[in-house]
Amino acid sequence: MDAILLQILNGLDKGSAYALIALGLTLIFGTLGVVNFAHGALFMLGAFCAVTLQRLLSLSFETIDETKTDFLGNPLKVKTPYVEGWFGPEVGGAIIDWAVPLSILVAIPIMIGIGFAMERGLIKHFYKRPHADQILVTFGLAIVLQEVIKYFFGANPIQTPPPDALLGVVNLGSWLGLDLPYPIWRLVYFLFAIVVIGGVFSFLQFTTFGMVVRAGMADRETVGLLGIDIDRRFTIMFGLAAAVAGLAGVMYGPIVAPNYHMGMDFLVLSFVVVVVGGMGSLPGAVLAGFMLGILESFASTTWATTTLPGINQIIIYLVAIIVLLTRPRGLMGRKGVMEE
C-alpha cells in the first residue's frame, strides 16, 4: 500500500514535467498549427536560467589565503561571492541558497522574450509551410540552442540544489498511519505544476484574450474575419507556451541536474504525451502527462520488471500504441487536427 502510493506520488512528479511541456506544445499546435521541435530546448533553457542565476549570484572576488595551497602548490585563492560581501555571509548565503526559486522571477520575462523572438523571427514564416519544413527548422533551432548552451556551460550535468529549507523529506502518510516519506522539493514541484496549469487554464477560460485564442484554436479563419488581430495574440500565446516550458525547466533543476541535452531527452516523450492526450487538447495533454508519468512509475517497480523484463523501458510507447489504436485521436483529441 505504502509502496503503491509512493509510486503514484513519483508518477505525479514525472507527470508534472510531462504535462507542463506538453501543455505548451499543444498550445502551439492548436493555435499556430506548428510542430515545434524546439520545445524541449525551451525547457532546457528554463533550467539554464536557474543555472545562470545561481552562477551570477555566486560571482566571487578572490582573496589569497597564504595558509592553504591549491592543486599546483600555489597559495590558495579563496573565493567569496559578491553577494555575501555586500549583504554579509548570512543574508548573502540565503540569497544564493534560494537561487532556484528566485530564478522563476527572472525566467518568466526571459522565456517570454525568447518565445516572442522565436515566433516573430522564425516561426512566423513557417505557418503556411508543410509540417515537414517546420520540423526541420525547429529541429535545427533546437540543435543550435543546445550547442550554444554546451559551448558556455559544458556537457556535464550541473547541480542546482533546492534551498536548504526545502531539502529533506516529509512524511506524508503520518496522519493516515502510513509511512510515506517524500522529498519536500518534489512536493513543491508538483504543487507548482498544478498552479501553473491552473493559471494557464483560467487564463484561457476567463479572459477575453483567452476566449479569442480558444476561438482561434477552434477555427482560425473565422476569427480572422472578425477583424481581431489574431496574429499578435498568437505571438503572445507562443511567449506563454515558452514561459510554461521554461518554468517547468527552472523548477526541475533540483530533481534532475540540468545538462545541455535534457531538452532532447524530453522532446520525444512530450510529443508522445501530446499525441496520446489528443492533438490540440489542453486537458488531454495534462491528463496524458500525469497518466504516463504514473504508468512509468509503476512499470519501474521490481514486481513489474520481473514479470515483464524491460517493461520499464517501453511502457510509454506501449501505452501510446494501445491508446492510438483504440482511440484514433488520442484521449481527448479533436477531429481533423494534424491528420494530414
Partner: protein
C-alpha cells in the same frame, strides 16, 4: 533506355557517373594541401554516402510520395543490420545471403509495423512508428542481449566471434565480409597522380552498384501508375477513395518497399563493417533520415541522396577539424589575426559540428523550401537566364513549377 524517358535516362547517367567516379570527385584536393581536410574520397565515407543514400531514397518513397512521415524508419535499418550479422555468424562471411536476409527480415518487420501504424494518419501515424522504433531500440539495447537469449549483444553491438558456427565458411575465404572471396575492405586499385591519391574500394563499388540499381528502381516506381497512386494518396485521399481506389494497400506497399530499402541499407552497413549496434535504431537515427530527405528535397528523386551526403559529410569531415588544423589554415596571417580567426571559427568545427549543421538546417529550409534540389534548380535557372536573355517565357511550354513532385 531501360524503359526510361530521355530526361530520366540523363539523370540516371549523371548519378551513375557521380557514383562510379566518386573516388576522383570526392578527392579534389592534393593530399598534402591544407584543404585535404575536406577530401571525402576514402572508402568508409564513400560507403556511407551510398548506403545512407539508399536509406533516404527508400524513405522518400514513403514520405515524399505518400506524405506519411515515419519517425521510426531506423528500426528497419537496425533490423537489417542484425539480420546480416546473424547470417555472418551462422552461414559465412559472404555478403549475398546476408544482404538478402536483411531485406527480407526488414520487409517482414515493416509489414507488421506498417499494418498497425497505417490505421492512423498524420502525426498519429508518426508517433506510432516512433513508438515501435523506440521499443525496438530499448529492447535491443537491454533485454534482448541478456546472457540467456543474446540476440543483439546490446551496447557492444552484435559481431562475429571465433566460435560462431559459420557453417559455409571454407578455407581460403577471407575472414571478413566478402563477395565470393572478394573482400569488402580491400581496395582493388590505389592510384597516385602527382599530389593526388585515389582509392578504389571493393565494398564501395558494391554499394555504388546497388545504389544505382535501387535508384533505377526508384525512378521506375516514380514514373509508374503505382507511384502516381502514391502521389494521389498524398494529394487527396478522399478523391482517391471516391475514384474506386483503396489507399490502404498502396500506402502499405509503399511502407514495405521503403522498409526493405532501409533493410538493404542496414545489411550493407553490416557488410561493410560487420558490427550492428542498437543506436542504429534510436529515434535520432530515424530523425536523421527525415532530415536528409527534407534537406535534399522531399518527393524528388535525387534530393534524398544529396541530403544524405550533406549530413554524413558534416558528421565525418567537420567533426575532425580541430584547433591544430585551424592554426594550419590561418598560419599565413599575422599571429594576432591567426588566433582571432581560430577563435571565430573554433565554435563551428570539431566538437561544434552540430552547431554548424543546425544553422545550415535553418538556412536551407528558410531560403530553399524545396531543399537542396531547389537550390540546384535556382542555380541552373540563373545560368539558363544568363545564357539566353532575350528569351521570352512561353507559358504554354513552361507550365508552373511543381515543387514536391518528381523532377
Amino acid at each position: 533506355m531501360l524503359g526510361l524517358n530521355s530526361k530520366d535516362t540523363m539523370l540516371l547517367i549523371v548519378v551513375a557517373f557521380l557514383a562510379l567516379a566518386a573516388p576522383f570527385l570526392l578527392n579534389p584536393f592534393p593530399t598534402n594541401s591544407s584543404l585535404a581536410q575536406f577530401n571525402a574520397g576514402y572508402p568508409d565515407l564513400m560507403q556511407r554516402f551510398a548506403i545512407f543514400g539508399i536509406f533516404a531514397i527508400g524513405f522518400n518513397i514513403l514520405f515524399g510520395l505518400t506524405g506519411y512521415l515515419s519517425f521510426g524508419h531506423a528500426a528497419f535499418l537496425g533490423v537489417g543490420s542484425y539480420a546480416a550479422v546473424w547470417m555472418f555468424k551462422l552461414l559465412s562471411y559472404n555478403v549475398i545471403p546476408a544482404i538478402i536476409l536483411a531485406v527480407i527480415v526488414a520487409g517482414l518487420f515493416s509489414v507488421l509495423i506498417g499494418y498497425v501504424s497505417l490505421r492512423r494518419s498524420g502525426i498519429y501515424f508518426s508517433i506510432l512508428t516512433l513508438a515501435f522504433a523506440q521499443m525496438s531500440f530499448a529492447l535491443a539495447y537491454s533485454v534482448l542481449s541478456n546472457p540467456k537469449f543474446n540476440l543483439t549483444n546490446g551496447e557492444t553491438g552484435l559481431q562475429v566471434y571465433g566460435d560462431d558456427p559459420q557453417i559455409l565458411h571454407r578455407e581460403g575465404l577471407p575472414d571478413v565480409p566478402h563477395l565470393f572471396g572478394w573482400a569488402m575492405r580491400d581496395n582493388f586499385l590505389e592510384l597516385e597522380v602527382a599530389g593526388w591519391e585515389f582509392t578504389f574500394n571493393n565494398g564501395y563499388y558494391l554499394c555504388a552498384v546497388i545504389l544505382l540499381v535501387v535508384f533505377y528502381l526508384a525512378i521506375r516506381l516514380f514514373r509508374s501508375p503505382f507511384g502516381l497512386m502514391l502521389r494521389a494518396v498524398k494529394s487527396n485521399q478522399q478523391r482517391l477513395n471516391y475514384t474506386g481506389l483503396n489507399p490502404k494497400p498502396y500506402t502499405l506497399a509503399a511502407f514495405i518497399i521503403s522498409g526493405m530499402y532501409a533493410g538493404l541499407a542496414g545489411g550493407l552497413l553490416a557488410a561493410m563493417d560487420p558490427l550492428a549496434g542498437a543506436e542504429r535504431m534510436q529515434w535520432t537515427a530515424s530523425g536523421e533520415v527525415v532530415l536528409m530527405t527534407i534537406l535534399g528535397g522531399a518527393g524528388t528523386l535525387i534530393g534524398p541522396v544529396l541530403g544524405a551526403g550533406f549530413i554524413k559529410y558534416f558528421e565525418n569531415i567537420f567533426s575532425k577539424i580541430n584547433d591544430n588544423v585551424l592554426h594550419q589554415w590561418f598560419a599565413f596571417l599575422p599571429d594576432g589575426m591567426e588566433d582571432f580567426m581560430v577563435f571565430i571559427v573554433h565554435p563551428f568545427v570539431g566538437k561544434g559540428w552540430h552547431l554548424t549543421l543546425g544553422i545550415l538546417f535553418m538556412l536551407v529550409v528558410t531560403f530553399l523550401p524545396g531543399g537542396l534540389v531547389e537550390g540546384g534548380q535556382r542555380i541552373a535557372r540563373l545560368f539558363r537566364r544568363r545564357g539566353k536573355k532575350t528569351d521570352t517565357p512561353d507559358p504554354e511550354h513552361h507550365p508552373k513549377e511543381t515543387p514536391h513532385v518528381a523532377e
